[in-house]
């Protein structure tokens, strides 16, 4: 057994794995929000950014593969921990009482599974265009280096997508659940990694929870903003 396997097989090590993969996923969540907020700058900003990502070519696939393995590891470890925890108490209490555990901390598996379901739906919606092919299949013509090229009009896709209230509702609910997951998860990972001190832990907890709420609010603002017509000036189309 390698050290790495020994670590991940233990209760503490599996949590360390959750924490490290959780950090990486959270960086993605932050980065993805930064990109998405370009919608407030309008069509060109969004479509340039999308074209830039596509232009990364093989590197895009390296990032995607990394992200996928981190995501899978996070889920595999969650299952491993959940199975251990469930086996550790098979008979519950007739009268139960919660002292200090937050709601967010008690529904990590549920909120996590909802996030997973949302990620699959989101990929099928905006990346693969399976769910709403009509809004996905939009292009725009731009002049690049003196030649006219046709490229994916991501801005148009997002705006047309979120003019339909059903998608707004789905995305808002999903982002509330992601925020809930992170409300516990972000501050929890410091404890898991052994960072705790009576002096600065209360600040860490507060900042982490604020970040979780801010991320959630940032994502929610996009579908809601589109529906209310608050996005970039060229969004009138």
């Amino acid at each position: 057994m390698s050290r790495f396997q020994r670590l991940l097989a233990s209760s503490i090590g599996a949590k360390v794995g959750m924490a490290v993969t959780g950090i990486l996923l959270s960086f993605f969540v932050i980065g993805h929000l930064m990109g998405n907020l370009l919608v407030y700058q309008g069509r060109q900003a969004v479509n340039d950014y999308a074209a830039f990502l596509k232009g990364l070519g093989p590197w895009l696939w390296v990032v995607r593969a990394g992200l996928l393995s981190v995501f899978v590891l996070h889920i595999v470890l969650a299952i491993q921990l959940k199975r251990r925890n469930r086996a550790a108490r098979t008979v519950g209490y007739a009268k139960d009482h919660v002292n200090v555990a937050t709601v967010a901390s008690r529904y990590m598996v549920l909120t996590g599974m909802c996030v997973l379901a949302f990620v699959l739906l989101h990929l099928a919606h905006f990346t693969l265009g399976w769910i709403d092919p009509a809004t996905h299949a939009v292009t725009e013509k731009v002049i690049q280096g003196g030649v006219e090229i046709e490229r994916h009009d991501v801005y148009q896709m997002v705006v047309a997508g979120f003019r339909q209230p059903v998608y707004v509702v789905i995305y808002v609910v999903a982002m509330v659940l992601l925020g809930t997951h992170l409300f516990h998860g972000l501050q929890s990972l410091f404890q898991t990694l052994g960072v705790r001190h009576p002096g600065y832990t209360p600040t860490i907890v507060r900042v982490c929870r604020l970040v979780a709420v801010a991320l959630s609010a940032g994502y929610i603002s996009i579908p809601v903003g589109v529906l209310l017509g608050l996005t970039g000036a060229e969004g009138a189309s």
Binding site: M1, S2, R3, R6, L7, S10, S11, I12, G13, A14, K15, V16, L81, R84, N85, A87, A88, R89, T90, V91, G92, Y93, A94, K95, D96, H97, V98, N99, V100, A101, T102, S105, R106, M108, H184, S188, Q191, T192, L193, G194, V195, R196, H197, P198
Partner: protein, 253 residues
């Protein structure tokens, strides 16, 4: 002194393999009794009626032995913070209350009878690493190894753990991390203990896991119910020590 009439729902289970159930009893107590004395009154009634008294563990009745274990209305050791069941007074309840009394619930703590569970897994966790190896012979001078006051205080606060298992009972995952970490941190804070830190972290955590306790999800229910109010800072210490022990140990893995 006002009498209190109480309705108790107590878990009765004749033996480890027997089917258990909550049984309802009525008892008259008063506010000066401890919770255990109230159960003594009930048991006296039961004995006089020729019924089997409720089995519960107790020894010191002064909050230091850690045996008087029971979950009272969903809270290990009952509603009062930093208090064992034996030190809990009936003034925490009022006339007419209905009270649920259940044993610790954890796969690793099988029920022996009624409210009594087998906490031998804790002994095995201690035996795996919760000790210091010192040579016998003449005791050395007490002040030969300097210990900073703050470290001594921390070590003492962790050493206050009485091994009752309330942390396991309160945790939704039946994790024994607070117990294991308190025992670890107590020795980790002292120079005599730090020498064997790596080996201790590995052995105690892996014994904890082998006993079938759950993993910590950082909800801190354990700290909230601990009769000795042991801090979850100990768990952060153990998390870090175990992680670096696995990655650094020169033992063959």
């Amino acid at each position: 002194m006002q009498d209190m009439r109480l309705k108790l729902h107590i878990w009765r289970q004749a033996g480890p393999e027997a089917q258990g159930a909550l049984r309802t009893y009525e008892v008259t107590a008063n506010e000066h009794m401890s919770f255990l004395e109230m159960l003594d009154v009930l048991n006296q009634d039961l004995i006089e009626k020729g019924e089997e008294p409720v089995a519960f563990e107790h020894d010191c009745r002064e909050g230091i032995c850690g045996t008087c274990n029971m979950v009272i209305d969903g809270r290990p050791h009952g509603p009062q913070k930093g208090t064992t069941a034996c030190q809990l007074h009936m003034r925490a309840f009022k006339d007419g209350d209905e009270i649920h009394v259940e044993p610790w619930r954890a796969t690793a703590f099988p029920i022996i009878k009624d409210l009594v569970v087998d906490r031998a897994p804790f002994d095995r966790i201690i035996a795996s690493g919760g000790f210091v190896s010192v040579n016998t012979g003449a005791a050395q001078d007490a002040n030969e190894i300097p210990v900073p006051k703050a470290d001594a205080d921390d070590a003492f606060s962790y050493a206050a753990c009485i091994g009752c298992g309330a942390c396991v009972a309160a945790c939704k995952n039946a994790s024994a991390m607070l117990f294991t970490a308190a025992k670890f941190a107590h020795l980790e804070k002292l120079p005599q203990g730090r020498v064997e830190s790596e080996r201790r972290a590995l052995a105690m955590v892996e014994q904890h896991d082998a006993e079938g306790f759950g993993a910590c999800t950082n909800q801190y229910e354990c700290e909230a119910v601990c009769p000795k109010e042991i801090s979850v800072t100990s768990i952060a210490m153990l998390n870090k020590a175990y992680r670096s022990a696995v990655l650094k140990t020169r033992e063959t893995v």
